[in-house]
């Protein structure tokens, strides 16, 4: 499963657009803390606000 980090633009998104709106409050909070998060399906509206982490075996998701 791919891992992602939030771009600065993600942190400016309203709750009606960010991962809270997609029923993933934990992912939202992890992204807001700058952690790498495993995400199976990234909503299209959020793709431009996330950076995929490639070739990393260990991540920051707790």
């Amino acid at each position: 499963m791919a891992k992602y980090k939030a771009k600065a633009s993600y942190k400016e998104l309203d709750d009606s657009i960010n991962f809270n709106a997609f029923g993933s409050a934990s992912k939202h909070l992890w992204l807001m803390e700058g952690l790498e998060v495993e995400i199976k399906n990234v909503p299209n509206k959020l793709k431009e606000h996330l950076t995929e982490i490639k070739n990393k075996k260990e991540g920051g998701k707790k």
Binding site: D14, D15, N20, A21, G23, S24, A25, S26, L29, K62
Partner: protein
């Protein structure tokens, strides 16, 4: 006046949770995402809920009674309580976890920094509050419904018992709303939104399917378990010109507790022989999965039952270190 022939029954009532867009406005009949809950029982407060406030009687002869100026209805602080008990399906658990702590994607992870959404003001955009719709439960029975607007989930309890309810994981969710419910014809199965029907929820989780039952990495022979997540919700203010609707809600902190009842043996006593937090893992083939990495075990008790001694192990789930750490996850897929 003639006696009414209308009545209501539980068997004739479906229960649907609808996702709202704006606090104080019920979920849309046209566009809201909804789920029909696999409910086995439910309860809710009467529409005219209130308390009475009574002034003390005056002293002295001729006034030691109560006039109607001394007794008043109190509605400014009322909270309507709703409780539903339902079969533990992936969809039903996901939906209630979403209402309780915002995670409904099947990983359903409660972490230390939750809740993510804390702004609950009347009239604000907010998808956390839900409308609870009870079909045919209005005063006229069939054709008249009752629905509660902007309910916040205050608790979810999951319980499994190897010898009760066919082993089905049973769940009870509690909600509160400071908005007066409505009795009217209302159809909360939207025409353009996503509706999850009962027929979509044919698989329910079962104690008999558990393949992993460990505490502190010790294998337990588990008879039953319970896991409860609860938080307080309070109303803020009131508008007596608008049926005492609130100005908002405040939400309190989550408390996650539970208990295990298992055979008393070397593993069970080893599992609790520590004052440091231990991991709880329950899993049914990695589909239904409860993981609580940092459980603090409370004082255990012994049941000297005829079919063998059992141990009841209560615990509190916590997070450790960073607030991004997991308290409990209830995986359903």
């Amino acid at each position: 006046m003639a006696l009414s022939t209308a009545f209501q029954t539980k068997q004739n009532t479906r229960v649907i949770i609808g996702t709202e867009a704006t606090m104080g406005t019920p979920a849309s009949e046209d566009t809201a995402a909804t789920i029909e809950m696999p409910v086995t029982d439910y309860s809710f407060d009467e529409i005219h809920k209130h308390s009475l406030s009574v002034a003390p009687p005056r002293t002295g002869s001729g006034a030691f009674t109560q006039s109607d100026d001394m007794v008043k209805w109190v509605r400014h602080d009322r909270m309507f309580d709703i409780s539903i008990t339902f079969h533990g399906t992936a969809q039903s658990i996901n939906r209630v976890c979403g209402a309780l702590f915002g995670d409904s994607d099947g990983t359903n992870t409660l972490i230390g920094s939750m809740p993510s959404v804390t702004d609950f003001r009347d009239g604000q955009s907010n998808t956390v509050p839900v409308t609870l719709w009870f079909e045919n439960s209005g005063h006229a029975g069939v054709g008249t419904d009752m629905y509660f607007t902007s309910c916040l989930c205050t608790g979810l309890t999951l319980s499994g018992d190897i010898s009760a309810n066919g082993g089905v994981i049973m769940c009870t969710a509690t909600f509160q709303s400071a908005y007066a419910p409505t009795q009217a014809a209302f159809t909360l199965e939207s025409t353009s939104g996503a509706n999850t029907a009962i027929s979509d929820q044919t698989t329910m989780f079962n104690m008999h399917d558990l393949t992993v039952e460990t505490l502190n990495e010790q294998d337990l022979l588990l008879y039953s378990f319970e896991l409860a997540i609860a938080r307080p919700v309070n109303r803020i203010g009131f508008d007596n010109g608008s049926n005492f609707k609130p100005m908002g809600y405040s939400v309190g902190g989550y408390e996650v507790t539970g208990s295990l009842t298992c055979k008393r043996d070397a593993e069970s006593t080893d599992a609790i022989d520590t004052s440091t937090p231990v991991a709880l893992a329950l899993s049914a083939n990695d589909v239904f999965q409860i993981d609580a990495p940092k459980c603090v075990v409370d004082s255990s008790s012994i049941s000297m039952d005829d079919d063998g001694w059992k141990q009841t192990i209560p615990f509190i789930c916590t997070y450790s270190g960073a607030t991004s750490s997991t308290i409990v996850s209830i995986k359903t897929a």
